[in-house]
Amino acid sequence: MCGIAGFCGELPVPAQARVILERMIHTLHHRGPDGYGFHVGSGIGLAHARLSIIDLVSGEQPIHNERQNVWTVFNGEIFNYVELRANLEQQGHRFYTRSDTEVIVHLYEQYGDAFVEHLNGQFAIALWDDERRRLLLTRDRAGIRPLFYTRATGNLWFGSEIKSLLAVLPQYATLDPLGLVQTFSYWGPVDPNTLFKGIHSLPPGHILAISDDGSETLTRYWDWNFPSLSEPASASRAYASVEDATVELRALLIDAVRLQLRADVPVGAYLSGGLDSSGIVALIRSFTETPVRTFSVAFDDAEFDESEHQAAMVRYLGTDHTTLHCSRRDIGEAFPQLIRHTETPILRTAAAPLMLLSRRVREEGYKVVLTGEGADEVFGGYDIFKEAKIRRFWAQQPTSTFRPKLLGRLYGYLDHSPVASEALAQAFFKRGLEHIDRPIFAHAPRWITSQRAVAFLSDELRASVGNWDPLTWYEKRLPADIMSWSPLSRDQYVEAKTLLAAYLLPAQGDRVAMANSVEGRFPYLDHRLIEFAARLPPSWKIRGLTEKYLLRRALAGLLPDEILKRTKQPYRAPDSQSFFFDGEPLDYVADLMGGARIRAAGYFNAAMVGRLFDKCRHNRAIGFADNQAFVGILSTMLLDESFLRRSGA
């Protein structure tokens, strides 16, 4: 795990290449505190900040091939490097390190651009082919590791985080209104958009090739893909029965965990108390020799706290466990640092406790943790999938009084549940039934709720995005054949490409762990598991209203019944309540949300923000929309303070 940065093309003053690379990579010190490495050649500059996890002795980057005409810097892990190396050695390749990085250059020699299809891992790679004078940038399939790029001074510049680009290209420190309205709808900017004008995020599962003449070619090598409903079942899947599929899934889970435990340093695991992370820990415990060290977050507020379930798992599995107790004040005070790492506004505070947890992990001497991220997207765990299932069922008979009553089975974990009143919940969820034939049907209510934050934008900013509509904009990006997939498959695809790739993996995953030089690993996002689950019948994922049915079957016998049968409780943290104490805001909150600062920044309507501020201050903001708007505005102002205002933009 590491940070990478660099450029492609001749610099105006070539002698400054090393100094420029140093300036870029030093901003990524938190991603790689164990040393820096550089390669400067004609038309190329590569820099690397290392967090040593595999091959502690000789794994420094950049790494090259035998002839030193292919060079790479890479952030992440190639989990199947042992098998890849054995195969490459059989084909005559000679290695000079024990690192997973070195397989990249030899795989490229062997397979060309298709090398990436052989990788099982989480990665952002820059590879320079000196003979062809061609740079390749690529990211892993799900989007676990970040990679940003831009064009300036006739060069292509890239880096693991945007701050590495801004270090040498401060003119890009201006806010992109499209990135902001996307964040206020989908919870994060959707690739290739970012919050910074002209800076792009390389989409997951893609390769960007930059040739000597400066031309760029963007190619998708992988995507979440689901079978058409018209495909015969026998063609789309290999499992005759749910029993066979359960056996296969358990075998895949064991192998994914086994691969992701590969490291030359001790590996820990997060334990939230839910099915997904408990399953990972149980698999480690039951099928590997790795000692299990676990970590979790506990909250003072009962609405968010899962420590009772965490304790049950710790007792059951006998792990050596550390609990981080997180208060509302801890969240509020950590929030500015969080936004310096996310480099984007966020609508909820839940990433802050995870940043504090990774700090604790690091203090305990661990650099790597396995987590349960991804299981909900892969196996159908989210309430949004069940909500959509009920709404579709209802839409078939809109006059039914029985069908909408099923909504009462959702959201029981919320203090102010949207289904507290059956009649009102029905009125709310009935909105959007007209989108029944659209691929964004499931997500329309969420995006419309989140979008209430857009109302707070200044007239000028709103005018700059025109009549931008989150539903139609996203629909245009979807695969042409998506309506031939099952409804659940459509919902899973949209979820994986928006919430997962635009928010959970960057803001709540990579950035908060790397803030403290900790690498998160996500066995459920092993691409073999994603591809396996995509071919399953929807009823093997959500059976009735029981989510992740097949995953529960595969983990049966490894977990106590109370965890195995537990309904999913999404991970959440106190939102606007984290910034006010006895009616008084934290100092920086008072400053940034005050009328003068809001007006000076120019992004928001100061009068409206003032009213929202008062509502939150008096603890009257109980709904998602208000809380998301408050956290979104505050984090935008923090982004402005950390990155944008300094440029004078």
């Binding site: 009102l424 709310f428 109302a455 409206m608 009213r611 509502k615 009257r620 709904g623 929309a625």
Partner: protein, 88 residues
């Protein structure tokens, strides 16, 4: 319209404008408009309104009265509060 309902209407409008629309522009709020359909309130927004009405007007809203027709517009709320104040 009685003076009582005028007072109720003013308070309800003031609350919705200030706390749910974050606006001071009276023209933005039509007394007959559906607040759910306009996206002014979401499902928890209705709970906020009920908490406000109970606190402001000393009424108690029963579960069986939590219906869209009672809370979906300013006029519906005014009618509902007036009825409860007159009967309880």
């Amino acid at each position: 319209m009685s003076s009582e309902t005028t007072v109720i209407e003013a308070k309800v409008r003031g609350y919705i404008l200030e706390n749910l629309m974050f606006s001071s522009d009276e023209n933005e709020l039509d007394n007959d408009a559906s607040l759910l359909e306009r996206g002014v309130i979401d499902s928890t927004g209705v709970l906020e309104i009920i908490l406000f009405l109970e606190g402001e007007f000393g009424i108690e809203v029963k579960a069986s009265e939590m219906l869209p027709e009672n809370f979906d517009s300013v006029n519906n709320m005014v009618r509902f509060v007036s009825r409860l104040q007159g009967t309880r």
